[in-house]
Amino acid sequence: MKTYLLPSLKITVILLVLLSGVYPLVIAGIGKFTPGQGDGVTVTYKGKVVGYANIGQKFTQDKYFWSRPSAANFQADAGAGSNKGPSNADYLKDVKARIDTFVKHNPGVSRAEIPAELVTASGSGLDPDLSPAGAKIQIARIAKVRGLSLALVNNIVESNTEAPFLGMFGPAKVNVLKINVALDELKK
């Protein structure tokens, strides 16, 4: 045992310096040159930080595009999913209630058009995005509440739609915070 004890201790200390000391510090140094300087990328409105681009925010008012439901109530220091199983009866009741709420706030929308993402909780509870369909189905409501033309609101969604990566990989998406900031910026 003694043959191994001292070398084990020594190599542990040395590797702690290398792997836990030097390695993350070098990454942090390089991180200074990234968008957000390694502190996270923020979004500003009227010169004030109103959130992080990557962190989904709670939007419940009719004048804003709603985010997806969050099992963590959008607490960005405790993100989590609902972990409800697909056959859970109580869970399905919750989803049904969300559909009813959505229909109530978006008169004229038929149930069959509602994409499931708008009534199901995201994995992190902090999903910053919607699919283009999830945003577009809310356009009529927003145009009406804000007294804007459908075309204008539609334009905001389209100009903020991010295509699949390199046009080839993965889904298209729309950042909810960014389109809501774009809506507020119209008010000037």
Binding site: S8, I14, G31, I55, K84, P86, S87, A112, G123, G170
Partner: protein, 571 residues
């Protein structure tokens, strides 16, 4: 074909295309041949000199095991006490508290063993010190230990009689400096440029557009996320793991992280081929693993894209598939693909909540962990496969009436006993654990614990049972993912899974290393017409059959009560 499926296919192809040259490179590293990372050599020499280690002293298999067990014991105590007193240690900007003893026990064992089951949430359950100086450190060294153990077995497969099986410290350190650290560095930089945080600043408080106050957790996450994937660890910086939008900001990072999950496990199979100059054997092993992988990946992707039938009954549309527990930026195909890759390897990171996935996906994920050898963990995945090879050699030898031989060594009673015990240990731990938890739940639902057993489960009936079965499968496979609805941070779960994790890591390292060491000492029998050839498709099918029979017989009843029953009953 849509962009989501193309993304998944691209990930698979990119992974294989990268794994082949990486395997070649790793074989060179362990042979001591020239590589382009030789500039690390002075650093390695310095580390050996300061540690008082002679990297050229060859060890036999017992000495290897002594080294592994000694250093692991030191790490265990270091982690346990750091977590226990983390609240008083530096680098704690968010003022997070100490871990309770049972949680520290579970967390220390979990990270020591490359499992990374997390009964805490990264935002509140650990500090920057314990994240970086304990957990991330373990993500490097536990992976390096796995590779070193595999190298002992590989070295023993060479065709000469010897008890000299290389030097543990040499395998271990080179795994860190030549493989894990450089790859992690590249991945961390890519993450940083895509929005993953790298600075040591604590939580930020912002007032959102609607006027709500939000506290945003941050920290030096990029480095840990890189090694969590590269080293098949899986323990994330944040509680939501790679579903968290800072931990995995976009589809590019998702591809990079997902490729990293499977890269080294597959590369090691090719490394074996190059190292032993038995490329055909490597391809047979890769082929068997791939069939197992596809058999679970395809149904899962299909099920998630098709969506939840129970939701369809509510009258809405599911253009994005089943979206509960998933993120829009990844979509159902990439989430299902990740779920399978993270369970065929012993990674266990998630980019969507497995608890909310379709029962078919859950079935595949649990099945993968129950087999625990299709691709497998860094190093140890191959060790599990090695056990199955030994059993297959023995059985096919008996079937055709020849002496069972593997690579010129007779497989005899002693090796078979060890192999059988190791192969049976895994079902034993999973099934006994699940049975015990079910028994406690049914008989003592209101036991006076901090969390009553009746409050353990997040879902009723079959799915609730699956939560417990998944937890023990994950613990015994050293995977670390979870059906996260299970309330696991309490004495029963912290202790029981901690114990399972410990046994399921060290016995499957000790067993194969012992077998390999014993075999290497035996007389070498040159290949003849009477030899059972192991690098053939027939033998590959034999190994596959052995794996399926052992797993199917052991686990089918439990799976029938969980995901299969749920799948049949969901409407």
């Amino acid at each position: 074909m849509n962009t989501e499926l193309i993304g998944v296919i691209f990930m698979y192809l990119a992974m294989v295309i990268l794994a082949i040259p990486l395997g070649k490179y790793m074989a060179k590293v362990f042979k001591g041949e020239k590589t382009w990372l030789d500039f690390m050599a002075p650093l390695e020499r310095l580390i050996f000199k300061l540690s008082g280690i002679d990297p050229n002293r060859e060890m036999n298999w017992k000495q290897h095991l002594k080294a592994i067990l000694t250093i692991s014991t030191i790490w265990l105590f270091y982690a346990f006490f750091s977590l226990l007193f983390q609240g008083h240690l530096p680098l704690n900007p968010d003022h997070n508290p100490n871990q309770t003893p049972d949680l520290a026990f579970n967390t220390a064992l979990s990270f020591l063993t490359n499992t990374n089951m997390q009964d805490y949430s990264g935002e509140s359950g650990v500090t920057y010190f314990t994240q970086v100086f304990v957990l991330m450190f373990f993500q490097f060294v536990s992976a390096a230990t796995g590779i070193a153990a595999m190298m002992v077995v590989v070295k023993a497969m060479k065709n000469k009689v010897t008890d000299k099986l290389g030097n543990f410290w040499d395998f271990f350190l080179k795994s860190v400096t030549r493989i894990l650290l450089p790859l992690s560095f590249v991945v961390a930089i890519i993450l940083a440029f895509n929005g993953t945080t790298t600075s040591y600043k604590g939580k930020d408080t912002v007032i959102g557009l609607q006027g709500d106050t939000v506290h945003v957790s941050r920290g030096p996450a990029a480095g840990m996320i890189a090694i969590k994937q590269i080293g098949t660890n899986g323990g994330g910086w944040f509680g939501a793991n790679s579903a968290h939008p800072i931990e995995n900001p976009n589809y590019l990072t998702n591809m990079i992280e997902n490729i990293s999950i499977v890269l080294i496990p597959i590369a090691l199979v090719f490394a074996l081929g190059y190292y032993l100059n038995k490329k055909k054997l490597a391809w047979i092993i890769f082929g068997v693993m791939t069939i197992g992988f596809l058999a679970t990946a395809i149904p899962s992707i299909q099920a998630e894209i098709n969506g939840n039938p129970a939701i369809a009954h509510l009258g809405i549309s599911q253009p994005g598939g089943s979206m509960e527990g998933k993120e829009v930026r990844f979509g159902p195909a990439a989430s299902a693909y990740w779920g399978v890759t993270t369970t065929v390897t012993s990674n266990g990171s998630v980019n969507a909540m497995h608890d909310s996935m379709m029962p078919i996906s859950g079935l595949g994920q649990m099945f993968n962990m129950m087999i625990n050898a299709f691709y497998g963990g860094v190093g140890v995945g191959y060790l599990n496969f090695y056990v199955f090879i030994i059993i297959a050699v023995f059985i096919s030898g008996l079937m055709v009436g020849r002496t069972p031989e593997f690579l010129g060594r007779k497989i005899e009673a002693r090796e078979m006993k060890i192999a059988s015990l190791i192969a049976l240990l895994h079902p034993f731990l999973i099934l006994v654990g699940t049975a015990l938890s079910s028994w406690v739940l049914v008989n003592f639902p209101n036991a006076n614990w901090s969390v009553k057993p009746s409050a353990w489960l997040n879902n009723p009936t079959y799915h609730g049972f699956s939560e417990m079965l998944y937890q023990f499968s994950s613990a015994s496979a050293n995977n670390g993912s979870g059906y996260a609805g299970l309330t696991a941070n309490n004495i029963f779960w912290n202790f029981s899974t901690g114990l399972v994790i410990f046994l399921a890591r060290f016995l499957p390292i000790i067993g194969p290393v012992a077998i390999a060491g014993i075999l290497a000492n035996k007389k070498f029998v040159p290949e003849s017409a009477g030899t059972l050839k192991t690098d053939t498709v027939t033998f590959g099918m034999m190994v596959f059959a052995v794996i399926i029979i052992i797993a199917a017989l052991a686990f089918f009843p439990a799976l029938a009560l969980g995901p299969i029953a749920e799948q049949v009953s969901i409407k």
